[in-house]
Subunit: 728 residues, 2 copies
């Protein structure tokens, strides 16, 4: 409640007016973030508005498909919103200022424009937007080979209008860099969302198939607008019941709603389904009954969803069943499913997120398990590899599997939901992290062998390519909880379409579409977003430290955590290994030698404490507390410096944001402002907990220039027990 001064006599109509407006906003929920980046408010720059109105006086649209119908809806919504004018449709191009939309198949006009050469390059999903002469009339043309390309073209056009770009003389062709642009939901059938933080699951299993919640279509639309073309809607820790008719009837409804938006349905399946729901006594992938059972299930799924995408599988990972339980390997397991799916054009996303409590170094495991299997997977299998070898930490090196599997289709799995980044409470734009890994140099085929060139199939000529991201939308009105988590979802889609975009370009687009084109807002917010990931690294685990979380919830710090059941790799001390002499995990030849999993010269660079990037120093090396850093500071001093810098960066974000009051709506301004306060509080807890804890080993002082820790280490350890972290 604003602490407004109360008043006795009502003569101040201005105040009343103000109150009314603020109340109206609240009740109406006008700027509650629900529209995300597709707000389509009237173009605010009068020059651009004038230009767009002149460019799009008429529309000639030729097409006939559910996708085309969606396109027409979008066109009306966008033109009405951005230009304040309904679309005026014409049967043919009659005057300058016409937007012509169609495919060569649906439109004679399009096929008469001599675009064959260009269209051939565009494939099934690409499009072009071009200003050109159409029968003597200067027009804007959106053309593609299929209607889904046209829909992507309309979204691209509106993106440019939302960001107020000059459209005169536009000539743009776009083709997605990877085939499968997939969002993953870790949604359980009880509607809890693992690592979700934005309410409960979007999918109302209790009212499906009867009730079609409006949000299903809204969800599909947002994804289509950034080029996402596939979704796996249930948790990889999969409930086998998803394959029963009872659930398939419900999944079918969602698939039908998503289809016009170009989005294919995938399901996560439980490898043990034959035993759990099939009445078999084994799930051995080489057992003929098991293979027959899966074929039956696949046939059944396709009877509901003729264009079903395939299965996403987490097997032999964190307690999930898999082929190892039957003495088989990942290829045996994946290929069994791939064989069943193959006749229907379905594919298998087989996750490479595996690790073994018996391994001396957890991060070695995936490479050690999968590299020997290279070449053994069927063509319709794609290995889905997390960006780093551990688990979505604030910073990791790229996974050495990228570059080590020349004969196995390999895609990347990124995380939009902020499992390790402060849930929906912290501002942590993931664009810089995504860019960092995509642009990482693997040296797999010499210089220029970036991760991006591997996953887009360029380097190894993969037959199937893809990028996946674990997203978190739930029933929260603004979809993602923290308004800025939307930006990472947006960034994922944009990078999956075109990995050459920079995090900065994408942030610029997103801010303009989501908030305003006012540069007084755009520039400082972009700066905030671009430092936000590094801030999160600094106040949690700088210099290559990792996984200092309290176990289970992955929110707050517990670097002291030394026990978690029988799994040393679920503790914090397993990773930092601090003692009186030093800190860090030796992954060189004298240690686990995980550096050998990288190609030369990276293996040598990572293996040398004086050449490794300092941001990964303690990931690969165990060094003394007085190890000299490039700054001239000792390791201890640098560590303290980084932790304090993390908090300062949050304060810098707070300060920036607080200066923006009035430039956007009060509702979202207040929300982000409050969340930044939470973030500052949490960042201090992280910093103090870690610095005080590591100090018990280094025995060195916190330099006097820094503010004192807020509490003692003992109090911070108590706090970890007292704070009850909501699952949501």
């Amino acid at each position: 409640m604003p602490s407004r001064k109360i008043f006795r006599e009502i003569t101040l109509s201005g105040i009343i007016f103000l109150m009314f407006f603020s109340l109206q906003t609240e009740w109406a929920g006008a700027e509650d973030g629900h529209r995300m980046w597709l707000r389509y408010d009237l173009v605010s720059d009068p020059v651009q508005l004038h230009q767009y109105r002149n460019l799009f006086r008429d529309v000639v649209a030729h097409g006939s498909s559910p996708t085309f119908e969606v396109l027409l809806e979008e066109l009306e919504l966008g033109m009405k919103g951005l230009l304040g004018e309904s679309v005026r449709y014409r049967a043919s191009v009659e005057r300058p200022g016409t937007l012509l939309i169609g495919t060569p198949d649906s439109s004679d006009l399009i096929s008469s424009l001599g675009l064959e050469m260009k269209l051939r390059e565009l494939g099934p999903e690409g499009f072009l937007i071009e200003q050109m002469d159409v029968g003597g009339v200067n027009s804007t043309v959106i053309a593609a080979n299929r209607d889904i390309g046209l829909l992507y073209g309309v979204f691209e056009l509106f993106r440019r209008m939302q960001t107020e770009q000059d459209l005169v003389g536009i000539s743009h062709q776009a083709v997605p860099r990877v085939q499968h642009r997939v969002v993953n939901h870790w949604d359980n059938l009880d509607r809890t969302v693992e690592r979700g933080y934005a309410g409960i699951s979007l999918w109302e299993w209790g009212t499906l198939p009867e009730y079609h919640h409006p949000r299903y279509r809204e969800y599909a639309r947002f994804n289509a607008s950034i080029g996402v073309n596939a979704t796996a809607i249930n948790n990889v820790n999969a409930n086998p019941l998803i394959l029963t008719d009872h659930y398939l009837e419900k999944v079918k409804v969602l698939a039908d709603i998503f289809r016009p938006y170009g989005i294919r349905m995938f399901l996560s399946v439980n490898f043990d389904s034959p035993r759990r729901i099939g009445g078999l006594d084994t799930s051995d992938p080489l057992d003929p009954d098991v293979r027959a059972w899966w074929k039956e299930q696949v046939e059944n799924v396709y009877s509901y969803i003729p264009d079903f995408g395939g299965f996403l599988v987490k097997a032999d990972s964190e307690g999930q069943p898999g082929p190892h339980g039957y003495g088989r390997d990942h290829a045996d397991g994946a290929n069994m499913l791939a064989e069943a799916l193959e006749p229907y054009g379905g594919i298998v996303f087989w996750r490479a997120f595996v690790y073994d409590p018996e391994q001396s170094d957890r991060i070695r495991e995936a490479y050690d398990e999968f590299v020997p299997l290279d070449g053994k997977f069927m063509e319709n299998v794609i290995l889905q590899v997390k960006n780093g070898p551990l688990d979505f930490q604030p910073r990791e090196p790229f996974s050495p599997l990228f570059g080590a599997l020349p004969q196995t289709n390999t895609m990347i799995e990124l995380q939009v939901t902020q499992e390790y980044f402060g849930f929906a409470n912290h501002l942590a734009y993931q664009g810089p992290l995504f860019e960092e890994v995509l642009q990482a140099e693997t040296y797999a085929r010499g210089e220029g062998s970036t991760v991006a060139r591997i996953i887009d199939g360029d380097l190894f000529e993969y037959s199937q390519t893809g990028m996946a991201a674990v997203i978190n939308p739930g029933t929260e009105r603004n979809w993602t909880g923290h308004p800025f988590v939307q930006s990472s979802w947006y960034a994922f889609g944009r990078l999956a379409w075109d990995h050459s975009l920079t995090a900065e370009e994408i942030a610029d687009e997103w801010i303009r579409m989501t908030f305003t084109n006012d540069v007084r807002f755009v520039e400082p917010v972009k700066e905030m977003m671009l430092i936000s990931r590094e801030a999160g690294v600094n106040y949690r685990s700088p210099l290559g430290l990792t996984h200092l979380y309290a176990q289970g919830h992955h929110y707050g710090p517990a670097p002291w955590n030394a026990q978690h059941g029988s799994r040393p790799d679920w503790t914090a001390v397993y990773y930092h290994r601090a003692d009186e002499e030093g800190i860090g995990f030796d992954r060189t030849e004298t240690g686990s030698n995980a550096v050998e999993q990288y190609h030369s010269p990276l293996s040598e660079i990572f293996g040398d404490p004086n050449r490794v990037p300092e941001e990964l120093l303690l990931w690969f090396h165990r060094v003394d507390w007085d190890h000299e850093m490039s700054s001239g500071r000792t390791l201890w001093e640098e560590l303290v410096y980084k932790y304090y810098e993390g908090v300062e960066m949050v304060r810098q974000m707070q300060d920036s944001w607080n200066h923006l009051e009035g430039l956007i709506d009060e509702q979202r301004f207040d929300h982000v402002k409050a969340l930044l306060t939470v973030q500052e509080k949490d960042a201090i807890r992280w910093r103090d907990s870690c610095v005080l804890y590591f100090q018990t080993f280094s025995g060195m002082p916190i330099p006097e220039v820094y503010e004192l820790p807020k509490h003692s280490l003992e109090r911070y350890i108590e706090l970890e027990q007292e704070l009850y972290i909501p699952r949501f």
Copy 2:
């Protein structure tokens, strides 16, 4: 997705227009139920609109308090919405058509009107709305002793305008019948909601106290509009951490937001808190350290919330700790807390929902435990008794505790959330159930001793009176999941204010406020609402049967359920006791003799199988399958008849609803339509499961006039296992 025919050439601008509108509605969420019964759309009847505009041309409002500020906001919102005109404030009454609002303390004008006598009757919360002469000018006056009364008056005025009632010559005085009108939330600190079904908890513990979600104020406003003046925001299965400073800082923010709306904050506490978070080794209520600890906690709570209401306690109930664990009784436990709260004006709601696995008849327990304690509770304790002796079943007799505690303040606990009524999937307006129990005759002081007269303090002169309801609002956009669950929340508030209202009157108000005043809609929907509870009784457990649910989730049928751990009273067979000879629970002298807990002549009536209302027959009696019913049918035939009638009533509701298309917005129409389809499906499952199961005992046929069961009993038993019931 509407299966609209696709089209090739765009010349049908009408279709485009239609599509745009439907899309706009979806994206804008205009009629998503979020506004509940306070929609304040323009008055649709031109005659009434004209009248209201003439009556309220000017407003003179005198007051100064946060509550008065809220009143002014509401006034602007309502007048702007209902009349399409902003409020014109004047310093004094100048011309006819003035609305004058104030208390004698804040307004000399009000105190000059000679309303002293009337105001004396109104107490702290009452109000009057009267058309009268004010200094020679015909005006409408809202007067009260305190600003909260004025706020209630404004809501009453708007209710009448929303329902388009004639306001000329209005003369209305209103005083609430009970003091404490309390909503209970079973919200856990992890934001799950026990028996919630409408998303997760409203309270964002993770972002409090920093972030003040707009919904907190909206929530308070809805409650105030129906006279609710207290809320207990956390689950009665209480996490002790709620009393830590960490949480109290957060609770304080909510209390501050609710306060201007006249809503007092209560908290559910865990009886074992002294041990669990206090570091004591006992929670014995007679232990001096324990008593001192609670006094400290209370002092601390009041330091955050000076007008804190008190504690709600579930003790020695379903595994919750309580005084019995220390050999003490409920009075010892409640009085310890009451003593701590008493200096601050706080009170204890002590729940009487207790039962014992050792008891031969579960429903006897609460009476047997509490009646001997009558007179032993402090004056600031109120026993909170569920409407029936079991647990919110579709139908129960009233709890015999009503009428058996002349010296113990006793309030009623009702359930709005549909734990046993199909969650948020079924339409089941609870107004008729509430009315049934409130108007039930207890004969405690002879004829006319209704439950209502007991809980309003009239019969036994209780010093504290109250009504509570367990409500379910969560993060779902429409608050309650099923739009019609809103109506039961509304009905609770209205009845807590005035228990003489009928369920029908309340339904009429609610429909008009929530949907439309169009009688073509109002009348059939009212009819649906009024039969909906009885439909739910019939397809689940007619004729006094009860608790035939699958355990745990309380959604679907499992009359065959015979085992649930070691608790026979958590099975279904415990309640129906069907065998080849008959069915029902003998609660007469030959059985558990629970009938003796009722006053004469009810005990005799309930005890006689030929005089007991047939709707309670099997609750009190075990009878043969061929027992003759008043209809002339045998018991078996009557049972089958009722089950089939239940499904038919759902179909009748479906049919009524489907005829209403076009009279309200598409969004809510489609939602309810789909949910009624779910309900029909579930009702059939209930009917078939029960009839087929009981048939295995009766050995009698299902008369041929009825449709065949959809599946076999075996399949229904399987289905119960296959269906995975979402917790949400």
